[in-house]
């Protein structure tokens, strides 16, 4: 409806919105599909009145005003129904008559997205399309200097270790004394990072675990997936597939009583336990699963009543110092599985990562350190946290690795890096860069959602409505009317595609380095970048 009345500061026009709808009257057949599909109801049927005026100069009596009504698709201008650019309208249009496009100027909506004093919250990713990882090149190509390997012909063992690796003499001593040695898992270096059952839809989650299981059982790739904080379905806890799963414990402890109850019935130990202290997308902030997403199913898995808000505070409640927090949590989690399962903390990328790492080096139980950089994604966070908080992953991982080198422990505590890997589609290249900077492996989330489930979110603030339960692809919704758009089997198939393709690409990168049996962790002489300062900072070659 057009505005006729006093305007308020926050009444916007279409020109002020970030996404505009292009609609073609000629092509449109008024089938209603776009309007029915739009996740935010940004469009409606418009009734348009066309005035046809006839004013012949010589015959005043023949002047006429005729009004004709015609129909079409109309975009709404009010902020509550602002187009998110997801393109579902275009997807369902039989005639290609509609498509959203980005407003060329900075939208005005962003100045009014805090109505009621509530700052903008959303899901998705940092609205910054750039990534340093993409600028890192692999400059060491061994042709005649080292035995050159052929990615297609040679056999590769692209595995990494998750767990505390003791120095050989220590290991031998303990072996002789029959002492306890830390559990170590040999896993695939590309790990699916923590995305909870609840943040993701049941079909998405099942698809991911199914794909992971397929990769393990049909293709022999020891791929692991982290649950995120939302518990773990009881059937999975009691199945042999549990060994492919990293259980996450975070500040809300959701689902953990259900996990504890399942321990006596477990056929297999989980791969590892990840203690989440922070998340790259919203460092220092907690999470909140809104009540409307907490249906009976989510409630059962998390061990709570349905339709209540589920807050995860920014911090764990009973931990007061780094020594205490880390030691206490790691001990407790080891104890739960009789010291057979590696336990490691995950922190958000931070300038204080070294302090955490140094603490871990002194803790003989610490199995790894996982760092989630600023480019990590999330189902829901404050925009300010997402866009402005956190530490880039590359230098964080690099600093930690070089510190381990200084301590002579670079082979003892694996560092896992996450956040923005494959942000622009270059999954294997980004992963390899991070590995050569010193990561033992990487964790990915958003890339998996985009590749395995068709997430349309982007760094240009497209879609990014994971938090409202209306995900156009059914990835982050708990409403069966939406998430049934996603077929778990197809997700699993795509996940398998992703890992197989990643595997080939990773081989294409490491083969010319002459590596086939161990990952080139910290092999930074193979890296170069065309930015002098970045090169200096990362201690890699400056190449132009």
């Amino acid at each position: 409806m057009f505005s006729n009345g006093p305007i308020t500061p926050s009444q916007l026009s279409l020109k002020d919105l970030p996404w505009l709808i292009y609609w073609d009257k000629e092509k449109c057949q008024l089938c209603g599909r776009c309007v029915a599909a739009c996740p935010v109801r940004a469009i409606e049927l418009g009734t348009f009145r066309k005035r046809i005026v006839e004013t012949p100069i010589n015959n005043k009596k023949a002047h006429s005003n005729v009004y004709k009504v015609f129909y079409g698709i109309k975009q709404k201008a009010d902020p509550a129904h602002a187009c998110i650019g997801c393109g579902l309208c275009s997807k369902v249009c039989p005639n290609d008559a509609i498509i959203p496009y980005h407003n060329e100027e900075v939208d005005k909506l962003r100045f009014h997205i805090n109505l009621g004093g509530q700052p903008r919250r959303r899901g998705g990713r940092r609205n910054d399309p750039g990534t340093l990882l993409d600028r890192i090149k692999f400059i060491r190509i061994s042709m005649l200097t080292d035995p050159a390997l052929d990615a297609g012909r040679h056999e590769f063992e692209l595995r990494t270790l998750l767990g505390r690796v003791l120095p050989p003499e220590e290991n031998l001593r303990l072996y002789k004394e029959e002492g306890w040695t830390p559990p170590v898992r040999e896993i695939y270096p590309l790990v699916i990072g923590g995305m909870s059952f609840g943040a993701l839809s049941p079909n998405m989650w099942e698809g991911l675990v199914m794909g992971v299981t397929y990769l393990n059982e049909e293709l022999g790739m020891p791929v692991r997936m982290c649950t995120g904080e939302g518990g773990c379905p009881p059937r999975l806890l009691r199945s042999r597939f549990l060994k492919y799963i990293i259980l996450q414990i975070a500040s809300g402890y959701f689902g953990w009583d259900e996990i504890i109850h399942a321990i006596p019935e477990m056929k297999e130990d989980p791969c590892a336990i990840e203690i989440k202290y922070g998340q790259g997308a919203k460092p220092g902030d907690g999470g909140l699963l809104m009540w409307y997403k907490v249906n009976k199913l989510i409630a059962a898995i998390r061990g709570v009543p349905p339709r209540v808000n589920l807050p995860s505070p920014p911090t764990h409640q009973t931990k007061y110092s780094i020594e205490e927090s880390v030691a206490k949590m790691i001990q407790s989690m080891y104890m739960a599985w009789g010291f057979r399962v590696p336990v490691y903390p995950k922190i958000s990328g931070t300038s204080t990562a070294l302090a955490v790492l140094n603490n871990l080096t002194r803790n003989p139980y610490a199995a790894a350190l996982s760092i989630d950089g600023e480019d990590g994604g999330t189902g829901a966070a404050y925009n300010v946290s997402m866009d402005h908080m956190g530490h880039p992953i590359a230098s964080n991982v690099r600093d930690c690795y070089l510190n381990l080198v200084k301590l002579g422990k670079q082979n003892e505590i694996p560092i896992f890096g996450a956040g923005g890997i494959g942000k622009r589609g270059n999954l294997a290249a980004n992963a390899a860069a991070l590995i050569m900077l010193g990561a033992s492996g990487v964790q990915v989330g958003k890339y998996i959602m985009q590749a395995a489930a068709g997430c349309v979110g982007s760094e240009s603030d497209r879609c990014n409505i994971c938090n409202i339960g209306q995900c156009p692809k059914g990835i982050t919704s708990q409403d069966p009317r939406i998430y049934r758009r996603l077929d778990p089997e197809k997700v699993a198939e795509r996940l398998v595609d992703v890992f197989m393709a990643f595997d080939t690409e990773l081989k294409k990168i490491v083969a010319p380095l002459g590596r086939s049996t161990s990952l080139p962790i910290g092999m930074s002489d193979a890296l170069g970048i065309d930015d002098y300062h970045a090169a200096e900072r990362l201690k890699i070659k400056y190449v132009v």
């Binding site: 049927l45 369902v92 297609g152 012909r153 049941p202 009317r481």
Partner: protein, 778 residues
């Protein structure tokens, strides 16, 4: 060492105790061929590439015998005219890039045998090392290259093999457990490998085992004879020619490679996933609803939103604004249906003054709240309908079955209450101290605003309904007590009759507005040329208009603030040239006029005070609570004495229509109380004006010609016009109109067709359809 082969031209690889350079040896072999030698013996000392490139002999066959220890790449780039026999073992890459030569190695050969061979044949009497038959080709211009190995082959055999035939006889192999070596056939895209004897796995991604056909077997056995004859082991033929000992490995076609023989995901789901987790997979134990894939566009239960036909759920803005609660939009609907009489009559359900008030005296709040105003369009003109209501037929008057009710005051409020009560079957008596019914309308409102015959018409009808009217009845304290005791209920509707005055010098010279209007209506007053009205409200405006009618030429209305007058009264006053002044404070009144506090004189022959009136309440007993000079009531106009109700100006100064509405509510409350019911004041919430669609209506329509134009241009907010636009527009043809028994109708949606697009809600001119979220599935 010396020459070993008879008749051959001998080229030694060692001369004077010094090894001949590969380049020199090559020159000597080429020169010998050029000179016509066709049988040459080379005694080799590790020289490179012996026996290749002998094209200078043209089509003539050249035989090369190699004794000693040849270097790498014997027969490389060999021509079809060349036959090479190595009498002992051989080094790497025999027949590299062979283009047709036949090469026999009578001993073992090391790595890279036949690498990149495209034509020709290589016969090995022993075993070979790693990477044999790799990168071999088949060029359709020539026949297949062949590699024959009596024993076994080393690791990575046939990598990237792209053509040719390899035959591994497995006789006396280096490793009897595996004659094919480790990881053979990686990247193989063409050719065949016949293999005899035990062998390990090969790259099944690239190659496959097939049955040896009759034709192939014939080829193998025929050529096996040739091979054995070349290496002088013909005695082995029988042992090596048992069909069951042989396997044939061929490359997969690109198509076969695409289908990699992996388990499909649906097979995995059934056979692995659900077998371990149970039926329904990951959460089959926790949910009982279907989770199978659905399309984006869905119908029925799977729709995210569903349309609801909310006909008459909300009050139209006109109805909502009308204090008397008249459903104006319904009256226009009746006219659209051709039922003008009913449209007129229905007003009487809500008001006894359909013409007087709706047509003349009311500021028409209904029109002020008309949705069309929101779009700068003229509101539907209800006064046309009001004026058309003079002949409205009163409803049927029921028998008296209810309570006895006394109504004190025969103005619009009292009449409204009495009218309603009588029509509910109660016994009502109206008491009024005047000679005629009608209160202020009768007594004070100028004839210019309400023609006498119009008012009389309404009053006539009223008298037919309310038969018990006692006029000229002054109610004092005792009489009131008596009435309260005698009647079941008493309704106070005495209005506000006592003018408020100003405590200024000369106040005795003021004439009150009501006094003035009463007298002017009877033409009993001559105001003179100049009139000042203190208080510029609507009553003041009426005074001004009347003063003008009575000959005043200079009329001034003064007020201490911006005048609150509005509507017709104000317009009329302005039309006759009355002057409005504010803020003006009155200091005193003199015979010359009004002196303001600034000392200015506003000359006047008559000064009228019109700053409001207050009720006269002295006769009420102590049990009726008074607040700031007015009777205090609850939301249905009951006073602190439950038997006594109060309505109209005695409660709060207001419009005539406010008093009429209050009368109806008080009457309804009394009816419900007398029936022992709880008092309800039903009022539908007003419809959100956003819901209506204005684009079907003419925005240039300024004045409505008649009631039928009003009816057709009414947006019918919240009440279905039965226009059928939604039915036509629904892309799924999901909406249909169903006639109901009582002559009504409804629109119903076929959920199995509807996709929840909301076109119906978006298009509806009347805002009936509402698209609401479907009930949650879980």
């Amino acid at each position: 060492m010396g020459q070993k082969i008879r008749d051959a031209y001998y080229i030694p690889g060692m001369e004077n105790g010094k090894r001949v350079d590969s380049r020199i040896l090559e020159e000597r072999i080429q020169r010998a061929v050029e000179q016509g030698y066709r049988k040459i013996e080379v005694e080799a000392y590790g020289q490179h590439g012996i026996g290749g490139r002998l094209w200078k002999a043209g089509n003539e066959e050249v035989l090369i015998y190699i004794t000693g220890a040849p270097g790498q790449r014997v027969g490389s780039m060999g021509f079809p005219n060349t036959k090479i026999e190595i009498l002992g073992n051989s080094s790497d890459d025999v027949g590299w890039l062979n283009a047709g030569a036949e090469i026999v190695v009578h001993g073992h050969a090391s790595n890279g045998i036949a690498n990149a061979m495209a034509q020709g044949k290589i016969y090995i009497a022993g075993n070979i090392g790693a990477r044999g038959m790799t990168m071999t080709k088949f060029n359709p211009r020539f026949s297949h290259p062949e590699l024959w190995v009596l024993g076994s082959v080393g690791d990575y055999f046939a990598e990237f093999m792209a053509g040719g035939i390899a035959v591994i006889c497995g006789y006396n192999p280096q490793n009897p457990e595996n004659v094919l070596g480790y990881r053979p056939c990686v990247g193989m895209v063409g050719g065949k490998i016949f293999v005899r004897g035990k062998h390990g796995p090969f790259s099944e991604k690239d190659a496959k085992r097939v049955q040896i056909s009759e034709e192939e077997w014939e080829w193998l056995t025929n050529n096996l004879k040739v091979f054995l004859q070349r290496i002088n082991r013909e005695e082995l033929f029988e042992e090596l020619s048992r069909y069951e000992d042989w396997d044939l490995i061929v490359s997969k076609t690109p198509y076969e490679k695409r289908a990699q023989g992996l388990k499909s995901m649906s097979e995995f789901y059934e056979k692995i996933w659900c077998k371990e987790l149970g039926k329904g997979g990951l959460i089959g134990d926790l949910v009982d609803y279907d989770r199978s894939p659905i399309p984006i566009i869905t119908t029925g239960e799977l729709r995210r939103y569903i349309p609801v036909w909310e006909n008459k759920k909300y009050a139209a803005p006109c109805e909502s604004a009308c204090p008397a609660g008249i459903p104006v939009q319904e009256r226009w609907a009746l006219i659209r249906d051709g039922r003008l009489d009913e449209a007129v009559d229905i007003a009487l359900v809500f008001t006894p003054f359909p013409t007087t008030v709706c047509g003349y005296l009311c500021p028409n709040l209904c029109m002020q709240n008309c949705t069309k105003l929101k779009y700068n369009m003229s509101p539907v003109d209800v006064t046309l309908l009001g004026k058309a209501s003079t002949e409205a037929n009163p409803p049927k008057i029921p028998e008296i079955t209810g309570k006895k009710v006394a109504v004190i005051g025969g103005g619009p409020g009292g009449i409204s209450a009495a009218w309603q009560l009588r029509l509910m079957g109660h016994d009502v008596v109206v008491f009024d101290r005047e000679e005629k019914l009608g209160g202020k309308i009768q007594k004070y409102i100028p004839k210019s605003r309400i023609p006498e015959d119009v008012l009389n018409k309404d009053l006539e009808r009223i008298r037919k309904v309310i038969s018990h009217v006692q006029l000229k009845q002054d109610i004092d304290k005792d009489k009131f007590k008596e009435l309260v005791a005698e009647y079941d209920f008493v309704i106070l509707a005495i209005g506000a009759q006592r003018p408020r005055l100003l405590p200024v010098e000369g106040k005795e010279m003021l004439i009150s507005a009501l006094d003035f209007l009463g007298k002017s209506k009877r033409d009993e007053i001559k105001p003179g040329d100049r009139v000042v009205v203190i208080g510029a409200g609507n009553v003041g405006c009426d005074v001004a208009t009347e003063a003008h009618r009575l000959g005043a030429k200079e009329i001034t209305l003064i007020d201490i603030q911006e005048p609150a007058s509005f509507g017709k009264e104000r317009q009329e006053a302005e039309k006759i040239g009355a002057k409005f002044m504010w803020p003006v404070f009155t200091k005193k009144i003199t015979k010359d006029g009004v002196i303001t506090d600034s000392g200015e004189l506003i000359p006047a022959d008559t000064v009228v005070i019109s700053i409001g009136d207050v009720p006269e309440l002295e006769f009420l007993g102590e049990d009726i609570e008074i607040e700031k000079g007015f009777v205090k009531v609850n939301e249905y106009y009951q006073t602190s004495n439950p038997k006594v109700f109060a309505i109209g100006d005695v409660v709060k100064l207001g419009l005539i229509t406010d008093a009429i509405g209050a009368g109806r509510i008080a009457a309804t409350a009394i009816d419900e109380i007398s029936k022992g019911l709880e008092v309800t004041i039903p009022k539908r919430p007003e419809i959100d004006k956003q819901r209506m669609n204005p684009f079907f209506f003419n925005p240039r329509l300024v004045r409505y010609q008649d009631v039928s134009e009003c009816a057709s241009e009414c947006m019918s907010c919240g009440r279905c016009r039965d226009c059928g636009i939604c039915i036509t527009l629904c892309p799924q043809a999901a909406i249909s109109r169903v006639s109901l028994a009582n002559g009504e109708f409804e629109l119903v949606v076929d959920g199995d067709r509807c996709i929840g697009c909301g076109f119906c809600a978006d298009v509806c001119p009347c805002g009936i359809w509402n698209l609401v979220p479907n009930d949650p599935v879980c």
